[in-house]
Each structure stands twice: as C-alpha cells, then as structure tokens.
C-alpha cells in the first residue's frame, strides 16, 4: 500500500514486471521492423518511418487487448491476479506507444505541406458518410485523448482526489477507447491490406475480450442469484464456521445491497463489505494478513473488526454483526454504524 504518493513504490516484483513489459514491447517492435525490412522483396522495402509508425500502432493495439483480457482472466482464476496488480503500467506504456504512433502519423502524412498538420488531421477528409472513405484518423484521435486522460489519472493520487466511483467511471472509458481503436484500424490500415490476417487479428482480439467478459460476468451473475437464506429479522445464513478456511472468507449475497465477506481468523468470525474502497476489488477473495483483510487486487488492507485501514491510511468499509447459532454462522444484512467496532463471534471450543 502506498501513502506518501511516490510516483512508483518499487518492489522486486514491480521491477521484474516492468522489465518484462519493456522487453515485450522491444521484441514486438523489433520483430515488426525486421519482418518488414529484412523480408521485403528486393527494392520493395517500405520507408523505416512508415514501418515504425505501423509497428507502434500494432504494438499499442496488442497491449490494449492484453490489458482488457487481464480483468476477466483475474475474475476467472486468481492465478492472473499478479498481472492485474501493475496493469496501469501497461496502460501508461500503451498510451505512450499510441502517442508516438500519432506523432509520427502527424509528421509524415500530415506534415510537409502549407496546411497546418492538425487542420489536415481533422479536416482534410470530410467523408463521414462513407465506409470506405471514412476519416479513420479522427477515431484514433478520440481514443488517444481517452488514453491520455486515463494515463494522466492512473496514479492512486487521482483515485483519492476523484473518489473511487468517479475514478472507476473515468477508467471504464477504456472500453470506448478500444472500440474506437478497433474501428480506427478496420476503417484505416485494414482496408489497404490484401491478406486477411490483420482483419482476423483485430476481429479475434475484440471477440476474445467480449467472450471473456461475458463468461466472467455470467459467473458473477450466477453467484448473485444464489441469495443467502434470510430470516425475517435480517440475519443471513452463512454456514458452519469451520467450512470457512482460516484467514479466508465466504461471500454471501444479501437480497439487497453489496455482497458481504465473512472471514474466519482462527476462532474469530468477522464480516465486512466485499467491496474494496480502492478500486472495488473483491475483498472476500482476499485473505487476512497481519490481522488485516488484504484485497487480492492491489493489497489494500482493512481491520476486520471496524473496517478501517491501518494508520496512516484513512479508507473505511462497512462491517457487519455476526453470530453463531447451533453451529451455523449468521451475518446481519444491515451494516453496523460507521466507525463502530464490532466484536467477532467466537467459535466455541476452538483455540483463538
């Protein structure tokens, strides 16, 4: 967890992640350049700047596809959570690649004339009523602006300033950016290709993202339809306490409101909101570390007894009352008053 808003809180894992990211970008672009320049027929070599702007665009698109795949993959298997942790580094890199791609396009295709390159970019082709003649550049410009806003606000500082809901809503614009980029490529570069490979890659990438989101969403929806058994007095049945793995949680879905994560810490049973205040991560899929519930997405922590993040952090989530009756854990669907410490239920006969 970061508190002092350093630009990057380096850890060995983060360094390895960024090194792999940098290596991946270099390999992609190098392979593209070698493929285009070394394997071109004699005398038919494209200009290096035109190859480079293509390579950068293709790399940015591939990286954005990967970024959008990580979310649903992490929902389907916790194996992918380490890829999620530093996903914003991928996003900033994607924006920088797209920015250089755009700058080269502006210079090469819109420069060297008596018309301002920005005017040429936005006004040289007014054929918005034509599929084949559509000014695909404008779609790329809008997508680049979205990527810029996302990259500029990617740091937790902005999450804190804007609030998690606003920040999340802003960053959901990535789906619009991706749709715009798919249209940008399909109405632009793909129209000039003879091989169907480019169209297949772009179409398959978009289809894979859609499919994984549908599958992940379907699993979430199916979980939400399994509502916890509720008594008339608001108590929800969770199950036998020892069915909850130590330091882990069972997630229950009340008839109304957010899911509740019921944790077992040794012989103590706690219940907190399942939604992390940072980016809405599923706290119930986290675990208790050093006495704090730890979010599986970015490691934000909360004390299970009062929902407060340990000092010096100030985030707070709702906590819920629990009780154990006839060997069954129950949790009340109404959160405890804000800031109030809720005593855990204790499993009878168990060592704490």
């Amino acid at each position: 967890m970061a508190h002092g808003y350093k630009i990057i809180q380096w850890t060995p894992f983060k360094k390895s992640y960024d090194a792999a990211l940098l290596l991946g970008v270099l390999v992609f672009i190098s392979a593209y350049l070698v493929g285009a320049l070394a394997f071109a027929p004699q005398g038919e070599r494209a200009l290096p700047i035109q190859v480079a702007l293509r390579a950068l665009g293709a790399c940015a698109f591939s990286l954005l596809t990967l970024i959008l795949l990580i979310g649903p993959l992490a929902r389907l298997s916790p194996r992918f959570l380490p890829l999620l942790y530093n996903r914003r580094h991928l996003g900033v890199t994607c924006f920088l690649l797209a920015l250089i791609h755009g700058a080269l396009v502006l210079l090469w295709y819109h420069g060297f004339s008596d018309l301002n390159p920005f005017v040429s970019l936005l006004a040289s082709n007014p054929s918005y009523d034509s599929i084949q003649g559509f000014p695909f550049e404008s779609l790329g410009v809008i997508a680049l602006l979205i990527l810029f806003v996302m990259a500029a606000t990617s740091h937790d500082f902005w999450n804190n300033v804007l609030g998690p809901n606003m920040w999340k809503a802003l960053h959901m614009l990535v789906y619009w950016a991706y749709a715009l980029i798919v249209a940008h490529v399909m109405l632009g570069a793909v129209q000039g290709e003879k091989s169907p490979l480019h169209a297949i890659v772009v179409g398959a990438s978009a289809a894979l993202i859609a499919l994984l989101h549908v599958v992940a969403g379907w699993r979430e929806t199916r979980r939400d339809t399994k509502l916890a058994d509720a008594k008339n007095d608001g108590w929800l049945r969770v199950g036998p306490p020892n069915d909850i793995p130590n330091s882990r949680a069972h997630i229950v879905t009340p008839p109304e409101g957010e899911r509740i994560a019921v944790f077992r810490d040794g012989a103590r049973i706690y219940a907190i909101s399942n939604v992390c205040r940072h980016q809405g991560g599923p706290l119930g899929e986290g675990r208790i570390i050093d006495g704090c519930v730890t979010c599986p997405w970015h490691g934000f922590q909360y004390r299970p007894q009062d929902g407060k993040a340990p000092a010096p952090f100030t985030e707070r989530i709702a906590v819920y009352r629990t009780r154990i009756e006839d060997g069954v854990v129950f949790v009340h669907s109404d959160p405890a008053p804000s800031g109030e410490e809720v005593a855990p239920s204790v499993i009878a006969g168990a060592q704490q």
Partner: protein
C-alpha cells in the same frame, strides 16, 4: 494456489508458484508478441520499386512547361527525350520563376523514380546556356488512344513514384489529398496494380487540364472512371470529366 501463496503486490516477496507462473506467462507473451509483430509485418501488400534518392543531386537540362503540371522535357536521364515531373521537397508544386517556363533551363534537385516514371524535387532553377537546342524537346501533340473504363485509385504521383513507401491506399489518403491540394500531379493506378505496377497514367480532366481541388474528396478511394486514354510523348494520360468518376 495454496493458502500460503496469496499474492500481495506490494510485498517484497513473491511466492515461488507466482514466480513460476509469471515467468512462463511473461516468456509466452513476449514470444507471442514477437511472432505476431513479425507476422503482421511480413503479410503486407506490395509496395513497388519506387525510390527517392535524396543523397544524389542531379541537374537536368531541358525545356520547362507549366501545364497541366510543371514538367521538364529533357534528354538528361538516358539520352532519350523524357518527361520529368517537378515538385518541391514537400507536398507542393515547385516555386519556379515564370520567366524560366517555355525556355531552356537547368533544373537541380533529387530524383524520385519508379520504372520509367521520374520526378525531380526541385532545389534550384537556372537558365540554360544560350545556344541550348530545344527543338526536339517541345511537348508533342496529344495522341488519342480511345475510350477507357478504369477501376482503381486516384493518387498523387510524387508519393506513388517513391516519395512514400507505400504511397497509396487508405492510410495514405490524407497525404495524397495534401499533395493534390498543393498542386502536385495526380495519377490513376488500377486496382491490383497500385503496389506492384510500374505505370499509372496521369489523371486530367476531359480538356487535358488539372482537376484542382474538386477531386480531393475522391483521392485514395476506390473509384471507377470512364474517359479517354491519350499519349503526350512518353506520358500516358487518362482524361475524364469529374462527373464520370464514381466512388465504388
């Protein structure tokens, strides 16, 4: 994932299982990215053998003409009388003092060539020495080659000759429009031959004059036109009315 292998991003330690998975996933993604990048690069349409040799200045002696585009009729390339189109180093027609037109001139610059097509990016123009014989360099009359219907793309000759590689297609549309707007010659490549073809007739209106900016919306789009082919010396032209050009 066992209980002890819960991943915490800010932790100084990464569990062995996560390390193994990330190593495999990272190597797979890096290798996959390389294969994808190379595949996308190799599967590109042909570009053609046009080239702009900016490292070798040339000075060609001939007679300058203004219409329909600035040209130099010269014997300076291979001894045959050839038409060399003229451009600036950017996306505009060259700025040449009017007094040089229709007279002998020495034109310096760098050559853009594709097959027998040639264009000079003009750096300097001087009057040819007095006594320079221009008798056989005057542009001959146009010879009509009959009606023609063509399907292809309106493009700017400078980029197609080799200033851009590739210099045709949708990605090049804005550039072609700027060149056309700047007064550079327009040509017409037939579908399937824009990349590997060696000849694209000069595109002119039915009177043998440049279209001007009216044609800009059609540049680089797939179009069909009906007109007449004509030959003016070594330059093949297709002459068509604006209304006969239809976007496909």
């Amino acid at each position: 994932m066992s209980k002890g292998e819960f991943f915490v991003g800010w932790s100084a330690e990464t569990h062995r299982a996560d390390r193994r998975f990330l190593l495999g996933a990272g190597l797979g993604l890096i290798a996959g990215g390389g294969v994808l990048g190379a595949s996308l690069a190799i599967n590109r349409p042909p570009i053609g053998d046009g080239i702009w040799d900016q490292g070798t200045p040339h000075t060609l002696r001939g007679i300058l003409s203004r219409a329909p585009y600035p040209i130099l009729r010269t014997r300076g390339l291979d001894g045959d009388v050839r038409t060399v189109f003229l451009a600036s180093s950017g996306k505009t027609a060259p700025e040449i003092d009017g007094r040089y037109f229709d007279h002998g001139a020495d034109v310096s610059g760098t050559l853009i060539t594709r097959g027998r097509n040639a264009m000079l990016a003009v750096a300097d123009v001087q009057a040819a020495p007095s006594g320079f014989d221009t008798a056989d360099l005057a542009a001959p009359a146009a010879v009509d080659r009959g009606p023609v219907m063509l399907v292809g793309e309106v493009l700017d000759a400078k980029c197609w000759f080799g200033a851009m590689r590739p210099g045709y297609g949708k990605a090049h549309k804005a550039c072609a429009a700027l060149c056309a707007r700047g007064g550079l010659p327009l040509a017409f490549c037939q579908i399937g031959a824009c990349g590997d073809g060696l000849d694209a007739p000069l595109l002119l209106n039915e009177n043998g004059l440049a279209f001007g900016r009216a044609v800009l919306p059609l540049v680089a789009d797939p179009v069909m036109l009906q007109g007449r082919l004509a030959a003016v010396g070594d330059v093949l032209q297709v002459r068509a009315s604006f209304n006969s050009i239809r976007r496909l």
